[in-house]
């Protein structure tokens, strides 16, 4: 704690204001849960809810098991074993993160649907002429979403396996366990906090997913929220549905926090990073190499190649494929949001540095909780108070000046930026705060003794020292905003279509091939943060 002597530090208000900013959409959603509208609920309960709950349950359990099996096995092989190609797979298996789930989804459908090449091939086989495989079903949604999300579990469990140090595994060997028993009885239980936090992130993304499930016509809460707002024009029904979804999301936040705090008790890394890897020889090594190659091919190489092939076909067909306007809008929005998020992150990180009391740490956690809120929920939670505020101001103006003003904030870019800020503040804050924590507290004290005030210290000391973390934060948030679909779709003013929105429009008409080029742009952008992550990992 620095400067705990100033009772009335003005910096503390920044934390309060920012926390309040996040609380507003949350409170809006909760208040609609507390004031249920009987008719809407009855309607929802009889028509939508059973399907939504079953679908969500199937999706969540399916993706959870799929990503845990995939992520933990790959994490164990690359983190604790040695086999041909291990170095290559350790980083390349993180690449599928670069694919947004909705891009993966339309590639999958393009390849696997009735009219896709695979099923056509099957139908040429004798006896299977009339065979049709329904791929818009739960198992395939689970596979598609799982393939883009497993890297969270993979990276965290791998880091944990690597950090366990050799002593803990060797200890279990001296106590009579063979390597397989040691994995299940020691390595796996110790990694549980990391695996569960990875899984919590996966499930937050799964609950928040809007693009992939709508491509598959698989109804979940996110699609239902969107439909009730834009299909039935009932913002209230959308809010009621959001209030349910937000409970699931917050439960995940708590689970994640609980296990994250356990990590330090489970940290056994003091034995040093030296790790005698388990040598997988002969057929075992080959089998693991084959397994890793298969996952990498299915989750990354095939989709990427298909995107490139389609893009080339579209370009060669001479069809007008000018996405310049979309790219420009995407980048303007992304850059503006990234700048705003990073600015706010610096203020927040500095305010917490000055006073890291319990209440401040809690408020920082509240302010950054948006990463768990699905974009659809957040859009509803932000638009409702904006509409309410606009109405209030309009009424006041017409009452005072007898003048009918139009909507003020509604349908402006400001609403979008506000929603992005709430949703992605955690991303920017994370890297800026960790950079801030690397700056020794004595620097602040030295600056204070030399007579510098908070703002000057921040500008002259921290800002220059933060540049690397700041750059990372800018890139990460920029790319996240670029890939973002539901908030953009639901709050964009007329004319502000981004690449993601374009993909939504094209895929809702089944135009897989034409969606490939904007999809490819997004994948390329998405690779940047993955490579930043990989570089960090290699250090």
């Amino acid at each position: 704690m620095i400067f705990n002597n100033c009772k009335r530090d003005p910096w503390r208000y920044i934390v309060w204001v920012l926390a309040a900013f996040v609380i507003i959409p949350l409170a809006t959603i909760f208040s609609s849960f507390l004031t249920p509208e009987k008719e809407i609920w009855e309607h929802l309960a009889t028509t939508l809810l059973p399907e939504l709950l079953t679908n969500t349950f199937i999706l969540v359990t399916g993706v959870a098991s799929f990503t845990v099996v995939l992520g933990v096995s790959l994490g164990w092989f690359t983190g604790a074993c040695d086999f041909p190609g291990r170095r290559f797979f350790s980083w390349s298996l993180a690449l599928p993160m670069a694919l947004p789930a909705y891009v993966m989804a339309f590639i999958f459908l393009g390849l696997m649907d009735f009219s896709g090449p695979l099923q056509r091939l099957i139908r040429t086989l004798p006896g299977l002429e009339n065979q049709m495989i329904e791929v818009r079903t739960a198992p395939f949604v689970i596979i598609v979403i799982g393939l883009t999300l497993y890297p969270y579990v993979y990276l965290l469990s791998r880091a944990s396996f690597m950090n366990q140090g050799r002593a803990i595994l060797e200890a279990s060997r001296t106590l009579g366990m063979n390597p397989t028993q040691a994995f299940f009885k020691v390595a796996l239980p110790i990694s549980r906090p990391w695996i569960v936090s990875g899984l919590a992130l996966v499930l937050m993304e799964t609950l928040a997913d809007f693009g992939a499930v709508s491509i598959f016509n698989y109804n979940t809460f996110t699609t239902a929220i969107y439909k009730s707002w834009f299909g039935f024009f009932s913002l209230k029904a959308a809010a009621q549905l959001s209030s349910l979804l937000v409970f699931f999301a917050l439960a995940l936040v708590m689970i994640e926090g609980l296990y994250r705090s356990r990590m330090r008790y489970f940290d056994t890394s003091h034995g040093g990073p030296v790790h005698s890897r388990l040598q997988l020889r002969s057929w075992k090594g080959v089998a693991v190499t084959a397994y890793c190659s298969m996952i990498l091919t299915i989750a990354f190489i095939v989709p990427l190649v298909q995107l490139i092939v389609w893009s080339l076909e579209v370009i060669q067909s001479g069809e007008s494929v000018n996405y310049f306007n979309y790219i420009l809008k995407t980048l303007i929005l992304g850059a503006a949001a990234a700048a705003l998020i990073c600015f706010v992150s610096i203020l927040l990180a500095y305010a917490r540095r000055r006073d890291s009391s319990k209440i401040n740490r809690f408020l920082c956690r509240v302010a950054t909780i948006g990463y768990a809120l699905p974009g659809t929920v957040l859009a509803v939670g932000i638009v409702i108070p904006v509409v309410w505020g606009d109405n209030f101001v309009q009424k006041t103006i017409s009452f005072l000046f007898n003048f009918e003003s139009g909507p003020i904030l509604q349908g402006t870019v400001a609403v979008m930026l506000g929603a992005y800020l709430v949703r992605f503040l955690a991303v920017g804050f994370g890297s800026i705060d960790s950079a801030m924590q690397n700056i020794k507290p004595s620097l602040d004290e030295a600056a204070a003794i030399l007579g510098k005030r908070g703002r000057e210290t921040l500008w002259k000391i921290h800002f220059p020292l933060l540049q690397k973390g700041l750059l990372t934060a800018l890139v990460l948030t920029l790319v996240d905003v670029i890939k973002e679909m539901p908030i953009t779709l639901m709050t964009r003013p007329f004319g502000w279509d981004t690449l993601a929105v374009k993909i939504y429009e094209l895929t809702s008409e089944g135009e897989w091939m034409r969606a490939a080029l904007p999809g490819l742009y997004l994948v390329i952008a998405g690779m940047i943060p993955v490579f930043i992550l990989i570089r960090k990992m290699e250090k």
Partner: protein, 355 residues
Amino acid sequence: MQLDNTLLKVNDIYKSFDRDDVIKGVSLELNEGEIGCLLGPSGCGKTTLLRIIAGFEIVQRGEVIIAGQQVSSGSKIVPPEQRNIGMVFQDYALFPHLSVIENIAFGISKSDRRARRKTVDHLLELVGLEGAGKAYPHELSGGQQQRVALARALAPEPKLLLLDEPFSNLDVTLREKLTVEVRDILKASGITALMVTHNQFEAFSVADSVGVIFSGSICQWDSAYNIYHNPETLEVARFVGDGAIIRGVVTGPNQVSCGLGELSGNLSLPCDSGCHVDLLVRPEDVLHDDHSEVGAQVVHKSFRGPNTLYKLELSTSEICLALVSSHHNHQLGEQIGIVPEVENLVVFPSVNKLL
């Protein structure tokens, strides 16, 4: 002739990592119930030797035999879990997700719950942690963790216990207390143990026999007393304990002339008269006496409570150490009288014969 009760036999083993020879022909033997210790500076290969015995490293040549069974040789290696050994790790390697009881019971293969419980209770009592069974490792102090690690290693009743720098993570006062305790526990359980350490006091207070190891080979394998009082090589003499090496000339049977005057005592090496030697003089061999004819100048002193360690410059401008009761307070630069009282003259063939 090999004794029947040899439990561990390490036979002329060689080990190298990437052409870097770490172990160069080490042999040692431990009898049943004996506590051995490998003492050496960091990087001397002592931990590698321990890991070879545990089965974590392979050897290029030589063999390891535990309880009559060959477990390591150039061609075969029995995995650690089948060697019937226990190990206490430097950082204890306690399983953070298991309670103290669960940690200790981890390696017990007995299926009978009550028998297991009995063993665990017995071990908790042995290491003095009766009340702490339900605690988790992170809730324990360093010393308690160490004791849990010991109990866990003893639980499967291994034939041989290996201890890798078991006290290095503890603070000094706790370390002294625990070395004595650990020795008592090991002796009470009657187990054969081999410990690795760089700290000679740990080695002396725990082990029955100590092997001093330098750059991959054992220089001397002996009792703690002999390692200290009768070091076989100059390296051992320098590494173990305080002391000074001063030049001397053998002047007769059991007689050496040096900067401290004429000394008589049992020569550790048979030497002819006129032979140049290096003589080991321990601080406790040099007594202070104001009336003595032999004088030396105080160049440094460190107060140690009951006594003061003086660093003295002799008339030959060689340095020797003297442990003097701290009531005798002398100033730096002062000339004081000393009396050498050396019973055993520990000498080494002199490298420098010019004097």
